[in-house]
């Protein structure tokens, strides 16, 4: 059979970054931003995220909170990503984001309120331009592209410094058209945007190997003309370097980037899930060996930056923060039921006055049969 002569037209590589290996040892000198203060901040915040997750799951188990998606084992991605943004940048989170939200200044009681079925939890008082957490898969990637357009537009039209939109997702979301359409647009419009994919190996019950035929998630960006990097997602330093580098380039007008952060979902998909139905105990046990907090903890202790005494102080401090947040959340006045109409439109259309009154009257127990 005839074999034509082919010429190489293009070729691509996907690089991988790690600073701290699974045992918490330096694989290369750490970047300048990774000061003792920064490292202990990440160490602390990752533990806070784990504590919030732990308490939230327990609250769900005792019927006080609705379905909750834990970030157990993936804290480095959220903390290192959220930490890389400046206040004026805009975060476009998916739903597995406790750590990143904490770094964005979202209050623990807001996180609890949201998963406790109260929309006020998405009214992030300290992150006024960030998008609310996004439940429909991968749609936030397109919102992020729209946000990035707005940031670029303001830069071009009004001369304010170029800010960056960061959108996150799990690896399952990279199977969706929204993900590809967002990357395609960001690439061709050179939008100031960073895509961060938490590849935690499981999309509910579907493992990474059954999700996509590509060798890496990162290489999906190549088709959109976007630089991509794969990082050890349980190495906070590697995640932080990748996100910071991508954001710096975006800020200089060089366009978007994608980061695939490889991690492992040590928890169930959500509290409504039971991963033991589809995932072996041995795999889970192995994954615990390279979880992110222990790794950074080992490194800090090896560097003489951490001790049992400091950990005891931190445990006390975090417990107090958590208790205060729980108290704030539980002592919130309930929202009036008519709130379901109050933010539907900027101004309630006249045609809804009757329904509004009906709902209010129902709650006051004064409803009378029929329309009279």
């Amino acid at each position: 059979m005839h074999k034509p002569r082919l010429q190489l037209q293009a070729s691509f590589d996907i690089a991988y970054l790690q600073y701290l290996d699974k045992q918490g040892r330096e694989t290369q000198p750490l970047p300048e931003f990774a000061t003792p203060d920064w490292l202990t901040h990440c160490h602390r915040q990752m533990q806070l995220a784990r504590l919030v997750d732990d308490r939230a799951v327990k609250l769900q188990r005792t019927g006080r909170l609705g379905t909750y998606p834990s970030t157990l084992g993936q804290e480095a991605i959220g903390i290192a990503t959220g930490n890389a943004l400046m206040a004026e940048d805009v975060y476009c989170p998916y739903y597995r984001e406790t750590g990143a939200l904490l770094e964005r200044g979202v209050e623990i009681e807001e996180i609890l309120a949201n998963w406790g079925g109260d929309e006020r939890g998405q009214n992030f008082q300290h992150a006024p331009k960030d998008l609310p957490i996004c439940v429909p898969i991968a749609t936030q990637m397109l919102h992020g592209a729209g946000v990035a357009f707005a940031l670029k537009y303001r830069h071009q039209q009004q001369g304010i410094p170029l800010q960056v939109a960061v959108a996150s997702s799990g690896e399952g979301a990279t199977s969706k058209g929204d993900f590809y359409e967002a990357m395609n647009l960001a690439g061709v419009w050179k939008l100031p945007m960073v895509f961060v994919v938490n590849n935690n190996q499981w999309a509910i019950s579907v493992p990474r190997a059954a999700q996509t035929g590509t060798q890496t998630i990162a290489q999906k960006a190549i088709a959109a003309g976007i630089p991509a990097l794969q990082v050890d997602g349980n190495d906070a330093v590697a995640v932080a370097w990748a996100v910071r580098d991508a954001m710096q380039r975006a800020r200089q007008g060089e366009g978007p980037a994608l980061i695939e952060a490889i991690s492992y979902r040590l928890c169930d998909h959500t509290t409504a899930d039971d991963a033991s139905r589809y995932r072996g105990a041995e795999e889970l046990e192995q994954a615990w060996q390279w979880e992110p907090i222990k790794r950074l903890d080992t490194y800090l202790r090896d560097q003489g930056l951490w001790s049992d005494a400091k950990q005891q102080d931190l445990d006390r401090e975090l417990a107090q923060i958590m208790e205060a947040a729980l108290n704030n959340w539980e002592s919130r006045a309930p929202e009036p039921v008519t709130a379901i109409f109050d933010h539907l439109y900027a101004q309630l259309p006249e045609g809804l006055y009757e329904q509004y009154d009906q709902l209010r009257d129902e709650q006051q127990g004064t409803v009378i049969g029929g329309k009279g």
Binding site: L142, A145, A150, D178, V188, E350
Partner: protein, 347 residues
Amino acid sequence: MAEQNSAITLVEAVTQALAYELKNNPEVVVFGQDIGANGGVFRATDGLQKTFGADRVLDTPLAETMIAGIAVGMATQGLRPVAEFQFMGFIYPGLDHILSHAARMRNRTRGRLSCPIVYRAPYGGGIHAPEHHSESTEAIFAHIPGLRVVVPSSPARAYGLLLAAIRDPDPVIFLEPKRIYRAARQPVPDDGEALPLDRAFVLREGSDLTLVAWGASVRETLAAAEQLARDGIEAEVIDPSTLKPLDIHTIIDSLEKTRRCVVVHEAARFGGLGAEIAAQIQEYAFDLLDAPVQRVTGYDTVMPYYQLENAYLPGVERILAGARSALGYVRDGVRDGVRATGAEGGR
């Protein structure tokens, strides 16, 4: 762009409104497929990119989900995106963003973020277009809390309502009846005067029958009203214009005079807006009615390809048949609109 005060078509009125807002509001951006140098497949954005630049009037890649989705992100940061879908039949990939995000953003952030977006799409049949190019599925959007659905039926209303839609703080689905894009000309001063949303327009006054229609069907409905007038029957013609939220009061006020109503729409009957209007009329004004509300609509079939589309579309004859059915209805104790019992129903 149209000259000041010259008579323009509906599609030119759309262009004029877009140009006015682009000129007067720096937060307005217009984007879609082929809307730049090409001026849109119907020329609704003709010349806008040249006038306002490719930073504000943008050709997008060919991806409808993306068009719907980026509008959400843009709007949350304070821009006023006006997104064009090339045809209503291609809006469906964007539904996730329109229904799950644009319509809900204000509510789910308790007012922190909002989506002042206009999603424009040419809609309706009757132009011998390819498959999937002739749909009238406004009811899908009208069903969704948080959205506005607006349909103009004249150049002046296209201009005034599009200005209002762009200035509105919430998402608006703006459906442009392409069959009448160039059907008539009318002087439309480029004065930036918006028309009110959420208000019906009485296009013709009459006391014998109320005809409710929107979009391209307004033409046939007005023609039917003229024919009825030759028989001495004066029909009131109401164009709701904003289908969601619906101004039912103007329709009921009309029924106080006419007591008989026909709702006309191109869309399929089942679950169409005619059903909602008829339901609200019987809820609020059952005692006013001397006849069941008639629906004159497209059939509950797939919108036919163009060889058979005229058989599907409600024309003057179908409207007249509906009108005669409403006018000829006689029930016990009621003759010619005069109540034998004297029992006067309240609203």
